[in-house]
């Protein structure tokens, strides 16, 4: 009598949350669960009802931080191992991989090319546009497609030449008095018209006030994905645009992609990407477009432009050397020691949010998430603890020097050189030493 191999029931395991991993992303798992087996607790973490759970693993797939797993007890694991051994011993059955043909993916293949929006104020370009041409060129090269610019305005043809100099191969030019001032309605209609006609796969826009206003309107109209404030852009093996951005107030980074719709849209803040080399000998093709946007159709009117009084003409985002002060400066007067050092080094004084909130420094000088993003050659952080909101605004600086009394301060984690000490002693000492060296050099020259 031959013994039938005993049929072992495959253990199903238990779906469970891995402690400490959930980031309360916004109930993706709850939304994805086909059996409504997941409810969220007050902290925004899933509670899985095992009576209802069918172990379909959809929640596991959708979780961005791999916080849910199927857990097997040691006994169950033993059975699984046994089953695996049996299977290996038996003739391996070829598993036919049925990949559903996704019509959505077919449709997006029509979209080709990388576009960069040229932002300008009545013809004066915003430098972020040229920075985006730099990263746009890399993306276009990887994808093997054209790098194009979109220029919308009134008498703005001169911007095309500059776009070529910074790397664009083609500029779609929409030049008409109706576009004299930026207005959401006229600009987004023109932009959407061009996208629908030429179908680009990637659209990059500066994350300025104007750029965010425009990008949000375009993406919603086109029903496509838009990722704000990207700090990294790359192409993955399948040709998708990987958009990396700070999330949760900059505490973590998220890589986001737009899978099924086109174009893939991103905004990038000024000074996050490096300005590419300008080559005025480069030329390209200008494609003139007349778009069906007429003045009488645009209801919003710009009545008046009020230029801000130049209270503070210093642009901290443009400086090569920044001497930055935070809460540790204690008052406005103390900033004079930073100014002295900045003067000796040929730099500019900036500050953290704490200094603005205390009323010691003007908002224009603030570096960080709610202030400016900077990437100077040297950033000297004085009495700045380094809250994540500050770090995201300056961590791309070439060299970071941190001076702080608290050796636990997070600023030391991004610093190239750190000095634990009293800034009121250390900074004047640095200034004096710089002066000494300069005097020596002057003496040697004489």
């Amino acid at each position: 009598m031959t013994e039938e191999p005993k049929k072992i029931k495959r253990p199903r395991g238990t779906a469970r949350l891995i402690p400490g991993k959930c980031i309360a992303c916004g109930a993706r798992c709850e939304s994805e669960c086909p059996k409504d087996a997941i409810t969220m607790n007050e902290k925004g973490e899933p509670i899985i009802d095992l009576e209802l759970c069918t172990r379909c693993r959809r929640c596991i797939k959708v979780c961005p931080v791999d916080a849910i797993e199927i857990f097997y007890t040691p006994e169950e694991q033993k059975i699984l191992d046994e089953l695996a051994a049996q299977k290996a011993a038996a003739k391996p059955e070829p598993e036919p991989e049925v990949k559903e043909k996704d019509t959505r993916l077919e449709k997006i293949k029509e979209y080709k090319g990388v576009w960069v929006f040229i932002e300008h104020t009545e013809g004066k370009p915003a430098e972020v546009s040229w920075e985006l041409l730099g990263v746009g060129a890399d993306l276009a090269k990887t994808r093997g497609v054209e790098l194009c610019s979109v220029c919308i305005g009134d008498k703005v043809e001169h911007l095309c030449k500059e776009a070529f100099a910074y790397g664009a191969g083609k500029v779609y030019l929409v030049d008409d008095p109706v576009f004299h001032y930026y207005r959401t309605e006229s600009y987004y209609k023109a932009f959407c018209y061009l996208v629908e006609k030429y179908k680009p796969e990637i659209v990059l826009i500066g994350a300025t006030g104007l750029g965010r206003d425009l990008a949000g309107a375009i993406a919603t109209k086109l029903k496509t994905g838009l990722t704000a404030d990207c700090t990294g852009l790359a192409i993955d093996d399948e040709g998708f645009l990987l958009q990396t951005r700070p999330a949760f107030g900059g505490n973590i980074m998220a890589t986001i992609l737009t899978e099924f719709t086109r174009p893939q849209m991103s905004t990038v803040r000024p000074h996050v990407m490096a300005l590419p080399e300008k080559d005025t000998t480069r030329t390209g093709e200008i494609v003139r477009e007349a778009v069906p946007v007429r003045e009488e159709d645009i209801a919003a009117k710009v009545l008046e432009i009020i230029e801000d009084k130049k209270m503070d003409s210093v642009d901290v985002a443009a400086a090569d050397i920044l001497v930055s002060g935070g809460r540790g400066m204690c008052n406005t007067e103390n900033y004079s020691i930073l100014q002295e050092l900045a003067d000796e080094l040929g730099g500019v004084v900036s500050c953290s949010r704490a200094a603005v909130e205390a009323g010691w420094m003007p908002l224009e000088r603030q570096v960080g998430q709610t202030g400016k993003t900077v990437r100077p050659k040297i950033y000297i952080a004085c009495g700045i603890s380094g809250a994540i909101q500050h770090l995201v605004g300056m961590q791309d600086s070439d060299v970071i020097i941190a001076i702080n009394r608290d050796k636990q301060a997070p600023i030391f984690e991004v610093a190239t050189f750190g000095i634990v000490g009293d800034l009121f002693q250390v900074i004047p000492a640095i200034t004096n030493y710089v002066r000494e060296l300069k005097a020596k050099k002057a003496g040697a020259a004489a």
Binding site: Y188, K223, M253, F260, L303
Partner: protein, 270 residues
């Protein structure tokens, strides 16, 4: 006429810390608050109520626990508060979020003439500033972002005049109603609730609209209606630098070693 203020309950991201060992977020003890930008949107809505007699309805998409935030808006003087909550709304990106909010506005506007949709500039957890424009675009109404002053609402001619803050300048724009206005924090100082109002708000009705009530195509909301997908989440890489000196060192010596190091690396030409 009606003003709809959009608010979001968010974790206070300034209090979130990252575990230095595991790199995961420490959310324990982090309070949920009304998005700070939205407190200014609500305040501006209430000022329009005071000035023009508009009715203020507040909407918020979120989990059932977001009711706490909506109750606060009632204590401040909002006339109506509606929580948009359904598991089908979960996992939404900005595109899918704007769908639910726009549909809620549309539903409110069926019963009452809509003047303004008021939003904060952005949220502190998402930081996108995309939902306001998304709502405007979906409803086809005027889109006015970066507003730091509402000059006038002209009820008779159905238009609004605002001041927008741009780089290095301001502009005065006039646009037809209804308009979506996204306000900057400079626009006002939010009021505090009075004790009687707070007590009143404790018993106030917070309406709950789920998708049975709203009946939106499930393909356009929540995770399914989101055009963006999160591929991965990770902690930012940090390369620890070199500590040149501590408090026991003489400041002059530390200064010297710093500047000499910088010169060595050709970072300073001194």
């Amino acid at each position: 006429m009606l003003v709809v203020a959009c608010v979001k309950q968010v974790p206070d991201t300034t209090q979130v810390k990252v575990d230095p060992v595991t790199g995961t977020l420490i959310r324990e003890g982090v309070p949920f608050i009304m998005n700070p930008y939205d407190t200014h949107a609500l305040e501006e809505s209430l000022r329009l109520k005071d000035k023009y007699g508009f009715r203020v309805a507040v909407i918020s998409m979120g989990p059932p626990t977001a009711e706490v935030t909506l109750r606060k808006t009632q204590a401040l003087g909002a006339d109506e508060a509606i929580l948009l909550s359904d598991r089908a709304f979960g996992g939404a990106d900005t595109l899918a979020t704007s769908m639910v909010l726009a549909e809620a506005v549309r539903k409110l506007a069926e019963k009452e003439e809509l003047a303004i949709i008021m939003c904060g500039r952005q949220t502190i957890d998402g930081d996108t500033a995309q939902v306001g424009p998304g709502i405007a675009s979906r409803l086809g109404c005027s889109q006015l972002t970066l507003v730091d002053r509402i000059e006038e609402v002209d009820v008779k001619n159905k238009q609004v005049k605002v001041r927008r803050k741009l780089e290095g300048r301001h502009e005065i724009v006039v646009a037809p109603l209804p308009a979506m206005i996204a306000v900057l924090r400079e626009i006002n100082n939010p009021r505090y609730p009075t004790v009687p109002m707070r007590l009143m708000a404790e018993d106030a009705d917070i309406a709950l609209w789920d998708n049975k009530e709203m009946n939106i195509d499930e393909q356009t909301i929540g995770l399914k209606g989101s055009a963006t997908q999160v591929r991965k989440i990770f902690s930012p890489e940090r390369t620890k630098g070199q500590i040149l000196g501590d408090e026991t060192d003489k400041p002059e010596d530390v200064a010297r070693s710093l500047i000499d190091k910088m010169k060595e690396k050709d970072l300073l030409s001194l």
